[in-house]
Amino acid sequence: MNLEAILLSLRLAITVSAVLLIISLPLAYWLGFTRWRGKFLVESVVALPLVLPPTVLGFYALVAMGPRGLLGRLWAALFGHPLAFTFSGLVIASLFYSLPFAVQPLVASFESLDRRLLDASAILGASRLRSFVRIVLPLAWPGVLTALVLSFAHTLGEFGVVLMVGGNLPGITRTISIDIYDRTQSLDYPGAHETALLLLVVSFVVLSVVYGINRRVWSPWAHR
């Protein structure tokens, strides 16, 4: 088993799910409550990674992060080193890749809230932020947990995007699934199996936790 790869994947998954939660809460709140007619456009963009091959996403991420890409140039100007083939680059690409897994459960749980509770909160003088913290979040916490766990699990196992953006640098961008791929290529089946089994077990446990707590079966935008 490649401990270095496992630790790297864990670090990546934790970073990405934490940052995603911060980004997704306001985004999902807006999607859940806006009456703007063009909101389907934003929904489509958020959902893109669900249908797009990871290599396509990875390809555009690589182009953007490259020395001629906007993101890459900005990053180089700010931090003095390129973004592609670094851990930070991996995090940024993964944010996009796992975005729907964080946003969709949040939107679903926000949309299922009784609007009259928010009306009551406003009438009792609470600002939007206060209503969000005291009413929305506590009542939508199964959605928050689902978002956190799904984005964690999804990032943990990502392959195509990492391969495109990160390459295969041990300790920097060589994640579990890259490691499994490598070992399979070099016919090290027992080694690949050890790591693969670990990922399988972790994913199963994580999903059991989510579904155990959150009885509703999670699914993309479908059930509205």
Binding site: D114, R116, L117, D119, A120, S121, A122, I123, L124, G125, A126, S127, R130, R134, I135, P138, L139
Partner: protein, 368 residues
């Protein structure tokens, strides 16, 4: 409780396009109860939502005294948070994850109120739910939930109170008790209270004023009797509450008997009615259902009913299966009976009669 506020009237003059019709309401709501009647989907809740700031009218004005809540022409639209309104929804909308105490304190958290704990304690006591403080809404009965919702709205000392069928589904006794608490509270606060209901008993117990809304338009307004005397619509006829709403002055309290004597305005007629929250000399309104009054053509004796007043039949009108009589005995009473009873007694215009009213057929309504 804070210093007594000068009572302000809530003036509403708005238009709002809805899918089926346009809501067009122009009315001034004085301090005290105004019952808002109308079939479901008539626009009653939309009106309340506009007043609360949850919906934005297309045009018009909403103001409390001189302070504007909404003014279409001047592009003023105060956020609901800034309007200081109490609003009890039909669904009550108690916060399910908060205890009774936390629910009631919620409105005080946003403002910097001195000693919120004491305030919450007072209002919980006032609504007789002090022992429920630690419970969650799903551990409460229907009546308890309704009390909590009222307490939560009132603890913030709102300037206007909107009640959307807040007591639906309660039995009459419980409803009367809650209404009594609400009335006691408003005797101190004197703010406009809009009370949406379909229930005749609630109108009996509350209303000195009634407005009706149908298809988004204001129907008749006025005292329930004047509105319901000649119902313009089926919905109104259904909602006919108490036909007699009489002005009276309290003469004396007989607390030992649980009754008080009042003198009706416009004559010398006196009635014995149940003890209410009133002092001698105070003006009250006495509500009596037209169907609860008996007529006799000879002076009746040996009755348990305490009120027997001599009068004269002024007019008789038969509406379907009900004969509607107007009897003058100082004040004008409306009396309902069956056409058969009318024939048996040979009643006609000018016939001298005795009105018989049981004490408990009289409901006291504090005149605000």
């Amino acid at each position: 409780m804070g210093a007594p506020l000068t009572p302000f009237a809530l003036s509403v003059d708005i238009r709002k396009r809805l899918s089926a019709f346009e809501l067009q309401i122009r009315h001034e709501f004085p301090a005290g109860f105004t019952v808002v009647f109308g079939p479901s989907g008539a626009g009653k809740s939309t009106l309340l939502d506009c007043i609360a700031g949850l919906l934005r009218p297309d045009a018009g004005r909403i103001a409390l005294g001189t302070s504007a809540f909404f003014n279409g022409a001047q592009r003023i639209s105060l956020a609901p948070q800034k309007r200081q309104i109490g609003y009890v929804f039909q669904s009550l909308a108690l916060f399910p994850h908060l205890s009774v105490e936390e629910n009631v304190r919620y409105g005080l958290d946003a403002t910097q109120v001195d000693n919120p704990h004491q305030k919450v304690g007072q209002v919980l006591q006032g609504f007789r739910i002090a022992t429920l403080g630690k419970r969650k809404p799903n551990e409460l009965s229907g009546g308890e939930k309704q009390r909590v919702a009222l307490a939560r709205s009132l603890v913030t000392q709102p300037r206007v109170l909107l009640l959307d069928e807040p007591l639906t589904g309660l039995d009459a006794g419980l409803r009367r008790a809650i209404l009594e608490d609400l009335r006691t509270w408003n005797a101190e606060q004197r703010i406009p209270i809009l009370y949406v209901t379909h229930n005749r008993d609630e109108v009996d117990a509350i209303g000195e004023r009634l407005i009706t809304i149908e298809n988004g338009l204001l129907g008749k307004t006025g005292a329930p009797r004047s509105v319901l005397d000649a119902p313009q619509t089926v919905a109104l006829a259904q909602s006919a509450g108490f036909e007699n709403l009489l002005d009276a002055r309290v003469l004396e309290l007989r607390e030992a008997d649980g009754v008080m004597r009042v003198a009706l305005a416009g004559g010398t007629t006196e009635l014995e009615i149940p003890l209410g929250a009133a002092q001698p000399g105070e003006q009250v309104k006495v509500a009596i259902r037209a169907g609860d009054i008996l007529l006799a053509i000879q002076e009746p004796r040996g009755l348990s009913a305490r009120n027997v007043c001599k009068g004269t039949v002024e007019s008789i009108e038969t509406r379907g299966s009900v004969a509607v009589l107007r009897v003058r005995s100082g004040a004008a009473f409306q009396v309902h009976m069956t056409p058969g009873a009318l024939r048996a007694l040979h009643l006609a215009q000018g016939t001298p009669v005795w009105l018989v009213v049981k004490t408990h057929s009289c409901h006291v309504v504090t005149a605000l």
